[in-house]
């Protein structure tokens, strides 16, 4: 197969499915169910995931004159994005039934957003990263305001749009400065150019700008202000997707740019990341304590989780990247699951918003309440859940690099986080007071039966969270392969390290050893 086609196989499949869904939507009768389109989207996502898995056998694929690089790292994130999209689509198949919405467009836009994120994961040229970022962002801007009639929906959309574009401008300015400092926008060429760069200060400014731009996308404090409003106003399944997949993609880009684009400045940007991580964890957890709205609370919790993830950036390259990859997977599984439960509980109109509305859920819908409790426990980081191992790896990695204080801050924050997660958990298992029962007979919670596909999606999320918590081995192995794929190749390192790094590279990467030695000799 042509390497260019092979490298972009998952994206091509998703794009074609998306176009097909879009074309098919006006062909259906206006009153007809849009569910077949949803199934089509699900099939496309499954095929894209399978294609990503298929690519794993080929080692590193470089395509489109070196702008796309498909390796274990990008495949890890692509599989993750496909899985998140799958859970979201399964959960929203019945979400739009019975109300005159444009469900077909919803499915198409979700697919296009996934294409953009996958593009981000496999690009090693900042121009491609930018295009992927915009494909995913523009789709999610629209998805955020999908309930057009609702004022909160369009408000969340405009806030997401304005701050997202603001962030993109920062990212672009960073790219422009990096181009000026090194003469290239390819990540590996930037790393090479840094050594010869006459303006290291400008290069660092460029990196700082890029970190600001991507910091907005991953909602790291102090660039988090949009997150609570957007998550509160957007439909629950969309929030499940946009709080996990775009963040995973942005973290993939950030890992590539920092660890393989600016390896020589590690000690300088590690401090930046340290500060961002400490701020995000603290502001996220303290902010969540004050919230009454469940989605808003989970928005602050996602800021805190971005902080935990940023801790991994202070670690040494190999360990840090694998820890970050694992944490992204664990976070994606539990967060998309939590929002999938909220989708089922509150339905399309989303009248159940506050923690009080969720009181007594366990009596009415024990299974859903149990699932939500499981995800909340995982978000806390209780052992036997993915959240526990995620935190464990991240903090160990930071300790090994000598950043004990950030681990201490992180652990203290995990303690604070218990409080608000447990408050929601306690509410689920509390009987509603008699007065409240009389004042507001139970019509806030959706009575709709959980459909089979939604059950399948929830089961997938639960299984993923559980497996990551009980036997993380295979995923850790994949994350470690991903980590190795991103560490700068030996020919980019300074001469004294070179032999050592080359031997490490060859022991870890037997199949790619020769190719890199060739490049080094050239």
């Amino acid at each position: 197969m042509n390497p260019n086609v092979l490298a972009l196989l998952p994206e091509i499949i998703l794009t074609l499915t998306g176009v097909l869904v879009m074309v098919a939507e006006p062909c259906l009768a206006p009153t007809a169910s849009r569910k077949p389109l949803g199934w089509l989207a699900v099939l496309g996502t499954l095929a894209a995931g399978a294609a990503s898995w298929y690519q794993l056998a080929f080692g590193t694929i470089s395509a489109f004159s070196g702008t796309i690089q498909v390796d274990a790292f990008s495949i890890f994130f692509q599989l993750l994005i496909a899985a998140v999209a799958l859970v979201t689509l399964l959960g929203s198949l019945d979400f739009f039934e019975g109300n005159a919405s444009h469900a077909g467009e919803y499915f198409a836009l979700s697919l296009f957003a996934a294409v953009g994120m996958m593009f981000m994961a496999c690009s090693v040229e900042l121009l491609m990263v930018f295009i992927g970022l915009e494909i995913s962002s523009i789709s999610t801007y629209i998805l955020a305001g999908f309930r057009k009639g609702q004022a909160t929906g369009s408000e969340s959309s405009i806030k997401y749009f304005l701050l997202g574009s603001f962030a993109t401008a920062f990212f672009l300015y960073g790219v422009a400065l990096a181009y000026g400092a090194t003469g290239s926008t390819t990540i590996s060429a930037i790393a090479q150019g840094l050594g010869a760069s006459a303006t290291p200060r400008m290069a660092f400014l460029a990196l700082a700008m890029i970190i600001i731009g991507l910091g907005f996308k991953v909602s790291a404090a102090p660039f988090h202000v949009w997150t609570p409003d957007v998550y509160q106003g957007a439909p629950a399944p969309v929030v499940g997707m946009m709080s996990t997949a775009p963040k995973a993609a942005a973290f993939a880009v950030l890992l590539r740019i920092t660890f393989s684009g600016f390896p020589e400045m590690h000690h300088r940007w590690a401090i930046l990341m340290w500060i961002l991580a400490a701020l995000s964890m603290t502001i996220g957890n303290l902010g969540a304590l004050l919230q009454k709205d469940v989605k808003r609370m989970l928005a602050y919790s996602s800021i805190a989780h971005a902080g935990y993830l940023l801790v991994a950036f202070t670690a040494l390259p190999r360990e840090g990247i694998s820890a970050a990859c694992f944490y992204t997977a664990a976070y994606a599984a539990m967060n998309v699951g939590a929002f999938a439960v909220i989708t089922q509980v509150s339905g399309y109109s989303e009248q159940a918003r506050s923690i009080e509305d969720f009181t007594g859920l366990a009596l009415r819908r024990p299974l859903l309440a149990g699932t939500l409790s499981f995800f909340l426990l995982s978000l806390i980081g209780i052992p036997f859940t993915g959240g526990f191992f995620g935190k464990f790896y991240v903090f160990t990695a930071a300790m090994h690099a000598g950043h004990a204080w950030i681990a201490v801050i992180g652990l203290l924050n995990s303690g604070v986080a218990c409080f608000y997660y447990l408050r929601l958990l306690a509410a689920l298992y509390t009987r509603r007071s008699q007065a409240r029962e009389l004042a507001q007979p139970d019509h806030v919670l959706s009575h709709r039966h959980v459909s089979l596909p939604a059950e399948a999606g929830l089961t997938l999320a639960v299984a993923a969270t559980l497996i990551l918590g009980i036997m993380p081995g295979p995923i850790v192995a994949l994350a470690e392969r991903a980590g190795l794929a991103t560490i700068p190749a030996p020919h980019l390192l300074a001469p004294p390290d070179r032999d050592q790094a080359a031997s490490l590279w060859c022991t870890q990467h037997p199949d790619e050893c020769n190719t890199h030695v060739d490049t080094a000799n050239r």
């Binding site: 121009l127 930018f130 295009i131 915009e134 523009i138 801007y141 629209i142 305001g145 057009k148 009639g149 609702q150 004022a151 909160t152 369009s154 408000e155 969340s156 959309s157 405009i158 806030k159 749009f161 304005l162 574009s165 603001f166 993109t168 401008a169 672009l172 300015y173 790219v175 422009a176 400065l177 181009y179 000026g180 003469g183 290239s184 926008t185 609570p228 409003d229 509160q232 106003g233 004050l290 919230q291 808003r296």
Partner: protein, 100 residues
């Protein structure tokens, strides 16, 4: 010939004006315009550096930025219309249904 530094300083000033306007202005459309100003400052930087390095790469980047900015404008203006329909205002201080 005009030195490269002049272009870079001009671009930095334009970018700063864009950031300041984004933070100060209260009308959604004006805020949107300030984002466009920031993007154009980036474009100017790219072109200046492309000239400095004697490459076309930077100029190609500018075309992509323009295309994407156009796509963004299409979506952005649509969202602005949607918000005007539901709220009858474009003042960001009044678009505040969701607060702590």
């Amino acid at each position: 010939m005009v030195p490269i530094a002049y272009y870079l300083v001009l671009a930095a000033i334009l970018f700063s004006i864009g950031v300041a306007a984004f933070l100060i202005k209260r009308n959604v459309v004006t805020i949107f315009m300030s984002i466009e100003l920031m993007l154009n400052a980036v474009n100017l930087t790219f072109v200046a550096f492309a000239h400095m390095w004697h490459q076309v790469q930077g100029q190609i980047f500018v075309f992509f930025v323009m295309v994407v900015a156009a796509a963004e404008a299409a979506v952005g203006l649509a969202i602005i219309i949607a918000i005007f329909r539901t709220r009858q205002t474009l003042n960001v201080d009044q678009i505040n249904l969701m607060k702590l």
